[in-house]
Symmetry: C2
Amino acid sequence: MAAADPELAIGFDDVQRAAQRLAGVALRTPVRRSRRADELSGAQVFFKCENFQRMGAFKFRGAYNALAQFTPAQRRAGAIAYSSGNHAQAVALAARLLGMPSVIVMPHDAPPAKLAATRGYQAGQAGSEVVLYDRWAEDREAIGRRLAQERGMTLVPPYDDAQVMAGQGTAALELIEDAGALDALLVCVGGGGLISGCAVAAKHRLPGIAVWGVEPEAGNDTQQSLQRGRIVRIPTPQTIADGAQTQASGELTFPVIRALAAGIVTVSDAQLASTMRFFAERMKMVVEPTGCLAAAALLEGVLPLRGARVGVIVSGGNVDLPRYAALIGAGP
Amino acid sequence: MAAADPELAIGFDDVQRAAQRLAGVALRTPVRRSRRADELSGAQVFFKCENFQRMGAFKFRGAYNALAQFTPAQRRAGAIAYSSGNHAQAVALAARLLGMPSVIVMPHDAPPAKLAATRGYQAGQAGSEVVLYDRWAEDREAIGRRLAQERGMTLVPPYDDAQVMAGQGTAALELIEDAGALDALLVCVGGGGLISGCAVAAKHRLPGIAVWGVEPEAGNDTQQSLQRGRIVRIPTPQTIADGAQTQASGELTFPVIRALAAGIVTVSDAQLASTMRFFAERMKMVVEPTGCLAAAALLEGVLPLRGARVGVIVSGGNVDLPRYAALIGAGP
């Protein structure tokens, strides 16, 4: 680790080294434009399409970057993760690619497609399994720590981990390489892994860029934390953005967000659904509710950025089809 | 026109010149892979994603290639087209880009999104309008010819036109440039414009390639035509593949298909819906029913191509969201 700011968990070098580890393993996802998005926002919009990433979300970047640095002993014992969905699939896939077992702690009410996909990625890898828990009653972090201790496996947190954060930052690095200079970058915020990595990468490459986080209205813990200057914990929020149903920013991610982000704005579930329809109708892309957070802030007029060159991270596309159909079919 | 085979309406040179005209105007759409598609088919599958093309379908290629060759007098009078949807939008957009009026003859029951999009492309272009007709009772070709004569506009047929065919062929040209050698190419068939252009391009570049056409079961006029050795006309077929509800191949397209295609296979509406779900769930892409024809033949096991390198044209993504939601939400 070589943080430029020793107060922060990661520096630009960490993101750059993550990019080297991910080269040829993660997909270099496309940066797409939309005339309609430009019209709606008055900005020039560059969408980084992580819904086209391996396993359908940016999470693969962080998970692979973390697991690729395991020692031989760690590799033999394997990786363990707790996740509401995409991080689970990411660790399961990264573990299989690196030939190690994985144990994934998932909520029993996680989308069936995410459960099935996680088990699919584990298939044929001895020692791998999914462990279910009740997210309204049990503490997934405690379950993860206990299993890690019992089995000698290494816990890979979904966001509060320097190598996970560094891996996620490669999305912004690629976006800026492909789109050129940007005035603003919009990133969804759950636990803060994506925005912290992306902010480190973006502010190093473009010191003048404004990095905005976007949270669901129902779960604005990071917005509250920035206002109070300390990490605020909230009850598990009820929102269609299941990937952002986090209760608090991380101990490592929050200081980065506080130091580098311009601020946090929030969007409603109705604005997320409207943005899902925009992506389907205009850009022919399936984007999960959480993946619409950043775009919704721009396209629904929450964050006025007229005349600016704006990067938007589309974080993922994993959503059960019946639920997706209900959300886009309902009409405006 | 410089056809290698003087019996055919177009030759490879026509496709190559179309590619030059379209450079920097049409999008070079991505060629995407899917591990799941490879598993399902046992082939190596390369999807040419024309659902990401301007106006959402390959049709822009042919329309722009035709309109770009109008004389100054033709440009002043403008273009007229009849179409069940995508060709309408393509001509409207190409006309606006080239600064000429367009009149589009569309069925009154065309998907509302296609009607709205066509009118949107015409906005601000004096002399442009949409004329509706009843496709179960009226002859769109006769209406188009009459209006063309009355207004001095040039009729751009949806498929039976050498420059339209040549433009569509650029999709296969790009696919082969990006994917490399292919053993087979799968293309949807309505009136035959796409497959005839693509077959000319593909067989020139890769003489050993097998170019397969795919029609809806309910509308296999081209399959019947190949069997009988002459163009067979059928009643307007009832299928969810609204872009392939054609009654007969064209006078120019059929000889190309007969000379260059390996054959035609058909898929059911249920197989199309299943393939729509595959694209949404696995590749995070919205594909219209007609755009699923080629992929369905491969992924649903109609055409066994185990071990082969297969190109698949995903022809478009324009589908009304409520209808799309109903088709993908219904379950397998």
